[in-house]
């Protein structure tokens, strides 16, 4: 039965659809809510073969059961279907839920945005070997004997040779029955990546802007997650003071108050110092803000950035989200201060549609 072949073809076509609409999926944050552990479930419009068929207008059918004339039977889509017929299936609204692994999605993203593969620094080629007891051998030291398997084998042998008597259920293993635990060496790549997300949660950042940050962070996560196994993620929010928070808080807080970017840089620098030795870690920083910094703070911020963060990071990305209160000037000041530093990427994100370009800009360097 080569139904698997048909299934594969179907999946290929679905993947094609997703790829065609990737831009739409990227800019709409809905997918993030559908993230499971490794899989993302994506709604794809039903791949029906189009036919001439009846629409909703004037359609109806015959049903069975109680109810008064005028009673509602439900909306189309969830509603009538069956022998009912003329237009009994009023189309539209049918979605297939397709599960795609995050890796695959990242791959599509990479192809779509033509992102270069990242060249890890540090101990990239060094792989540590770790032993895991996860197999079985016929020989070994008695201390590693696998009792249950040994007896199971003995039992099987005895039954098949007829020497097993249910009335006198004695199982005696012979040498050939013996099974031993054994190990395999599992290579563990020593390439590590840490991502630090910094978000400005001052009063001027609206929910919509946070949504943009959230969406962009999701895709950056997906891409880096594919490049490095086990990415470490840290989240920092700040207004006039900064603090490290967990993922949930990062996406959901709404604070208010002034803005002191340097406080966040300080926190980031502290985290790096404490947890991520620069020699072994590929460190990425993504900062999102509306660019409204307190005037006297810029100098301090640039100092921290220039002395600590930029030297430590593979990449430092600054995304300035356009705010309804007008855009700040941090991005201009930053550019003036550092010019086109190779580790520094700026991007202005005007609205959701700009996320796409912004991601390309951030990750396009292949660092």
């Amino acid at each position: 039965m080569d139904i698997e072949r048909d299934q594969r073809r179907f999946k290929q076509i679905v993947r094609g659809r997703i790829r065609d609409n990737l831009r739409k999926y990227i800019t709409h944050g809905e997918m993030i809510g559908r993230k499971g552990r490794d899989l993302v479930s994506i709604p794809v419009p039903q791949l029906d073969v189009p036919r001439f068929k009846f629409g909703k207008n004037g359609s109806g059918g015959v049903g069975q059961g109680d109810g008064e004339v005028g009673d509602s039977l439900g909306k189309p889509g969830q509603g009538p279907d069956g022998a009912g017929g003329a237009g009994s299936d009023p189309g539209g609204g049918h979605y297939l839920e397709v599960e795609v692994s995050l890796d695959e999605l990242a791959e599509m993203l990479g192809n779509e945005l033509e992102l270069p593969r990242i060249k890890p620094k540090g101990a990239a080629s060094i792989e540590a070997e770790k032993t895991k007891y996860n197999s079985i051998r016929q020989t070994g030291p008695e201390s590693l004997r696998h009792l249950r398997r040994t007896y199971l084998r003995a039992l099987k042998r005895q039954i098949s040779t007829g020497s097993y008597e249910p009335a006198d259920p004695r199982v005696v293993p012979v040498r050939a029955d013996k099974q031993y635990r054994s190990w395999n060496e599992v290579p563990q790549p020593q390439v590590n990546a840490a991502v630090i997300y910094i978000m400005d949660v001052s009063g001027s950042m609206t929910d919509e802007q946070k949504e943009i940050v959230r969406t962009e962070a999701f895709w950056i996560d997906a891409w880096l997650g594919k490049q490095y196994k086990g990415v470490e993620k840290r989240y920092i929010i700040h207004d006039a003071v900064a603090k490290e928070v967990d993922e949930h808080t990062f996406y959901h807080t709404r604070e208010s108050g002034g803005t002191r970017i340097s406080s966040a840089y300080k926190t980031a620098a502290d985290i790096i110092e404490a947890s991520f030795p620069v020699a072994d870690w590929n460190i990425y920083c993504f900062q999102f803000s509306d660019g409204d910094n307190w005037g006297d703070d810029n100098r301090k911020a640039f100092e921290l950035l220039g002395e600590k963060l930029i030297p430590a990071s593979n990449l430092f990305c600054y995304g300035q989200v356009e705010s309804p209160y007008g855009s700040g000037d941090f991005i201009d000041a930053l550019e003036k201060q550092f010019g086109s530093h190779e580790k520094l990427v700026f991007s202005e994100i005007a609205d959701k549609d700009a996320i796409y370009e912004s991601i390309r800009k951030f990750l396009g360097k292949g660092k």
Binding site: D6, G60, G87
Partner: protein, 514 residues
């Protein structure tokens, strides 16, 4: 997967088959040899995805179907109990994990279907060696895939499937056109002159000049020649759009073959869509009769009743063909047993008398066998759906209310319910569409017409379908229909879609007809 002629039933199931088959024969059911295959749920899903034919041609939609069935099964939302293939011999699939009582019920049900397939006249013209032919189709399609590429063939199949409904379901029973001489070498083509000669009345030689006067013949001949010159293609609207395309579109040989495969399969499956209510009703009638009277044991009665009622469940928005079918057959049997039919009964308007009517006619069994031979769903409902039945079974008509964007119960009046049901069964619930001109504007464009019957086409689907049809036809295609109460012509010329709105039309009020 090879389909051997022998089944792989366990000894217990084989015994069961013998038993059930004997019961079925005793009741007068008549079927082709029936072969049961015992298969796993996964295989069953795979076969069901292919419409019951394991060897069918490869296509992605079967994969989609399979994925949905498999998911539904794994999540415990749905389960296929039985599947029967109209073929000689009849193939039926049993799911290995079903309990014995279910297998028994399924077998009894299957014999009902097999009898129906063999004896219902609407199936008389179907291919009884479809299992083999489907395998051949599969091979041919696979070969084309090897030759021109999987995607190319699959895309073409997509385009064909878009119009697979557009067949003439009555054509197997009617000779619509003059037979073309089959052996083109042997029989003489009529000479040009002879073909143009007008029909003559029969006459003896010496009377001929009186019966068929020369000047009249000549006049007719001129008239005929005139007609011939402006001959339209097709002569009269052609419901079999697939055939028309097959005969007139510039298709590569492999494309023509693929299209003919799709068309063959469409004709093969058409009667099943035409007799859904009857077929399921008939099979349910017999599984219930055989199980209750003969096969069910005290131990299993609860399980049987549970599963039987599960199949019969009806929801307010979904008319269950099993339920309506079985109840109608029971109703017919009961009425003909009581002699509750004919003019005298029809003219009696005393409810009490009608209810108690009994002439001990005892014609029930005979009648239902006759009904299963000659009717399809449309004529079945038309003939046997009565006021009493609609009332007893609480049937109602629902419609779409654009205001509340929901379906609502519209009426419980008998004529309206019946009319709605008949309408939704007409042409298998699909729009009636025919080719009216294959040389539209004298530019080889294809012009279709949708016979509007009160329900509009879904425009986005129609537009996509035109696109696919255009791929088959190569020249621009048009369809005339009604949109927003006005005549409209949708067109696609290979690049652009076009909607041309005509004048508003007077739509006859359907209510006033009834």
């Amino acid at each position: 997967m090879s389909m051997g002629p022998t089944s792989n039933l366990t000894p217990e199931l084989a015994v069961m088959q013998v038993e059930i088959e004997a019961h079925a024969l005793r009741y007068g059911l008549d079927f082709y040899p029936t072969i049961f295959e015992l298969i796993d749920a996964d295989e069953l899903n795979a076969i069901a995805a292919r419409g019951g034919f394991p060897t069918r041609y490869p296509h992605w939609r079967f994969g989609m179907e399979y994925e949905q069935l498999a998911k539904g099964y794994h999540y415990g939302l749905q389960k296929i109990y039985e599947m029967v293939i109209n073929n000689n011999p009849c193939y039926a699939y049993l799911m290995r994990s079903n309990a014995a009582i279910d297998q028994k019920l399924v077998m009894a049900h299957v014999y009902g279907h097999c009898d129906f397939f063999k004896n219902n006249d609407w199936f008389a013209q179907t291919n009884r060696k479809m299992m083999d032919d489907m395998a051949n189709h599969g091979n041919r399609v696979r070969r084309y895939m090897d030759q021109v590429g999987v995607e190319e063939v699959e895309d073409f199949i997509d385009a064909c499937l878009s119009v697979e409904d557009l067949i003439d379901i009555y054509s197997p029973f009617i000779q619509r056109r003059e037979k073309r001489a089959d052996d083109r070498f042997g029989s003489e083509e009529p000479k040009e002159a002879e073909r143009n000669r007008p029909p003559r009345y029969q006459s003896k030689g010496y009377m001929d000049s009186f019966v068929n006067p020369r000047e009249v013949m000549l006049a007719k001949q001129l008239e005929g020649a005139d007609k011939n010159a402006a001959r339209r293609i097709p002569d009269r609207p052609e419901r079999d759009v697939l055939l028309f395309v097959l005969e007139h579109a510039p298709l590569a040989p492999w494309q023509a073959d693929v299209l003919s495969i799709v068309r063959d399969e469409s004709y093969y499956f058409a009667p099943q869509a035409q007799t859904k209510i009857m077929n399921e009703g008939w099979a349910s009638f017999w599984h219930s009769t055989i199980m209750i009277n003969d096969a069910v044991t005290a131990v299993d009665i609860i399980n049987y009743a549970d599963h039987h009622s599960g199949t019969m469940a009806s929801s307010p928005t979904q008319l269950n063909p099993y339920k309506v079918g079985i109840e109608l057959f029971r109703d017919i049997e009961d009425r003909w047993n009581r002699g509750a039919f004919g003019r005298e009964y029809d003219e009696c308007d005393d409810v009490q008398v009608r209810r108690r009517w009994n002439t001990n006619a005892g014609l029930g069994r005979k009648k239902i066998f006759e009904v299963r031979r000659i009717h399809n769903d449309l004529t079945f409902i038309d003939e046997f759906l009565t006021l009493d039945f609609v009332r007893d079974h609480k049937l109602f008509r629902f419609g779409y209310n654009a205001g509340s964007e929901a379906y609502e119960i519209e009426s419980r009046e008998f004529p309206k319910v019946k009319q709605q049901l008949l309408q939704s069964l007409t042409n298998r619930g699909r729009p009636i569409i025919s080719v009216v001109d294959g040389n539209y504007r004298n530019r080889g464009e294809l012009y279709l017409r949708h016979d509007f019957s009160g329900v509009e086409l879904q425009t986005d689907f129609a537009v996509d379908t035109l696109r696919n049809l255009q791929r088959l036809w190569s020249r621009p295609v048009h369809i005339e229909t009604v949109l927003e109460n006005a005549r409209a012509v949708l067109a696609f010329d290979g690049k652009n879609h076009d909607i041309e709105k005509g004048d508003p039309i007077e739509i006859p009020d359907l209510e006033s007809i009834t």
